[in-house]
Amino acid sequence: MITAGIDIGSITAKAAILEDGRILGAKVLFTGYNSRLAGQAVLDDLIAEIGITRDRIEVIVATGYGRNSVDFADKAITEITCHAAGAHFIDPSVRFIIDIGGQDSKVIRIDENGRVVDFAMNDKCAAGTGRFLEVMARALEVDLDGFGDMSLKGETPAKISSICTVFAESEVISLISKGETRENIIAGIHESVASRVSALAKRVGVTEPVMMTGGVAKNIGALRALEIKLETVIRVSPHAQVNGALGAAVLAGGIALTKYS
């Protein structure tokens, strides 16, 4: 049985396709202006890559901020439930998920069945999210892919005190003019993200093992800063960025089963 999950985030659209508990493939595209078209495009691309026909997909579940705009999906499920299902699918021992995406960061505590026990999300503020890191990388003229590695070279992380993305950017600019090294500034940026997210995590109560998902999980600087703050080793799935889509495909499998039972 083949199922698909589509995760429309604020920056990227992700798709994942599963066949009987095996990942056939996953894909990431920029969301752009039209989230419905993005969902269609990312699924079409992935189908072409895998080399299956569309009619072989039994159930499609959409998630993410654009979940309700994917009108060809069989069901819309929030990214909270999908991330839980995705993390549980990759590593059933995981009990806590930190997901940092484009416009929000969330923490989810799950039980042994991959079900959500409690969750919290950042509120009305982009600080501590992927977008925050993008803005900072641009201000520092550093490629986002190199951002994490560079941060590990920072020996004394600069202090970024502001909790607002816009004000933090001006703080970074003033640090640059004071001659602070880029590495220290970047390390400081990651520390500031980590302290915001760890406060969110502690509010819900961290239970180990912890897994990080979402696009920012690819950033080693953010990951290390979070590990230090939370005093735990954080697992990262090779499918971190598509974890929401993967979870959606897993849940689509459950829907397909009830459909035929």
Binding site: Y65, I77, T78, E79, I80, T81, D104, R115, V116, V117, D118, F119, M121, D123, K124, R203
Partner: protein
């Protein structure tokens, strides 16, 4: 086909609360009386929602509530313009949106009823927050009228004898203030009658709210938000007693007829904090779409929650103690005790807390309360960030995701 298109859904019609039209009529009459008070030789006093209105009723003064006005502004979705007006005047965006919109209305005569009638004097009780002190001082300067402040000490654990003496003493000062403003003596027999009606009104209101303990609930917290206006504005009058008697009878009949406000009620939730006035319908539809019913709330029961502390034959000595003990003038531990009782009474599956940017005393401590509820009662809890009147603090897609995710968690 055309006939079908305009035909009303009979099931939906059946679920509508019939008393609503009467309630609207009462509120309209009340505001007309307040706005024409001067022509009729009556005095108007502005009073805070938690203030002892009974004395005003006994003195034949028309009480007017800037907070109820704020709620109407919010429900009419007129909050943003008025908030912006207040901000242009120099008031901070962090100031309570009731205060901002009301202050702006004093200047512009804007809002759904063209502003409140100007007050002859003001009565401010700080049992609900500290903002009202400055807000009423602003109004006192603007209208150049006297202001009476009733200071109710915050209750950390118990209400001390010193505090009791302090508020009782102020009650006598309040009576003297009213006698001076009205140019006549207080009629204590009339005051006893008003006290009796006030307590009767409170009991009936509580009984109306209690009907939602029935499964399925004949009404929701959203209905309670609407019907609350009377116990706030006209407490101590026969009108309130008559109306809530009618409403109570209707609720009991709904229970007998098996009419539920949320069809297929499956999940029962408790709401904390003030309503999001401009989004009550959206929120109500959102929860209904998940077969969830907000069966109770901490807000509408705040008035009746203290009724047992009142001795209707000795209102002067006991009323102030009751008013000092309202839900948001007490410590988190006492709030938690109230929450526990509500959770038990309404047998709820979850708690939804509105972290209200405007109302600091209500919202401060919600994260702690959330922890206490989850730890001790094992009840899932959701916090949504919004504001009661200022729509700029409401982010639909963020709130939708939180509610959907919360309901997915409950449904497992």
């Amino acid at each position: 086909m055309a006939d079908q298109a305009i035909a009303k859904d009979p099931e939906k019609e059946r679920r509508k609360i019939k008393s609503v039209s009467k309630m609207k009529e009462i509120m309209t009459t009340y505001y007309i009386e307040a706005k024409t008070a001067r022509e009729n030789g009556k005095k108007v006093a502005w009073i805070t929602s938690g203030g002892p209105v009974e004395f005003l009723i006994a003195m034949d003064v028309i009480p007017v509530y800037p907070e109820n006005h704020g709620a109407m502004i919010g429900a009419s979705k007129m909050g943003v313009d008025l908030c912006e007006k207040a901000e242009e005047m120099g008031y901070s965006r962090d100031l309570c949106s009731y205060a901002r919109t009301d202050i702006a209305c004093s200047i512009t005569n804007g809002g759904p009823i063209g502003g409140l009638p100007a007050p002859d004097f003001l009565v401010c009780c700080n049992n609900i927050c500290g903002t009202v002190l400055k807000w009423y001082e602003v109004a006192a300067r603007f209208y150049n009228v006297p202001l009476f402040i009733l200071d109710t000490p915050f209750i950390h654990s118990t209400f001390s004898e010193a505090s009791r003496k302090y508020v009782v003493q102020q009650t006598y000062e309040y009576i003297a203030f009213l006698e001076k403003q009205c140019g006549k003596k207080m009629d204590f027999e009339r005051m006893t009658e008003v006290s009796r009606l006030a307590v009767q009104g409170l009991r009936l209101w509580q009984e109306v709210l209690d009907t939602a303990a029935h499964k399925p609930a004949p009404m929701t917290a959203f209905d309670a938000f609407f019907h609350l206006a009377l116990i706030v504005t006209l407490r101590g009058t026969q009108t309130v007693v008559d109306y809530y008697s009618q409403l109570l009878a209707e609720m009991r009949q709904r229970i007998a007829d098996g009419i539920a406000m949320v069809p297929n009620e499956k999940y029962r939730l408790l709401w904390d904090n003030l309503p999001v006035w401009y989004r009550t319908k959206w929120l109500s539809d959102k929860f209904s779409s998940h077969n969830a019913c907000l069966v109770g709330d901490t807000y509408t029961s705040a008035w009746s929650g203290v009724m047992d502390l009142i001795d209707e034959n000795n209102f002067i000595e006991t009323g102030a103690v009751a008013y000092s003990s309202v839900y948001i003038n007490v410590s988190l531990d006492i709030m938690f005790e109230t929450l526990k009782k509500l959770i038990k009474k309404y047998d709820v599956d979850g708690l939804v807390m509105h972290s209200n940017r405007s109302c600091k005393p209500y919202s401060l401590g919600q994260y702690d309360l959330q922890q206490m509820v989850m730890r001790e009662l094992k009840i899932p809890t959701l916090i949504i960030e919004a504001d009661m009147v200022d729509e700029r603090s409401f982010s639909e897609s963020q709130i939708e995701t939180r509610i959907d995710a919360f309901m997915e968690t409950l449904k497992k």
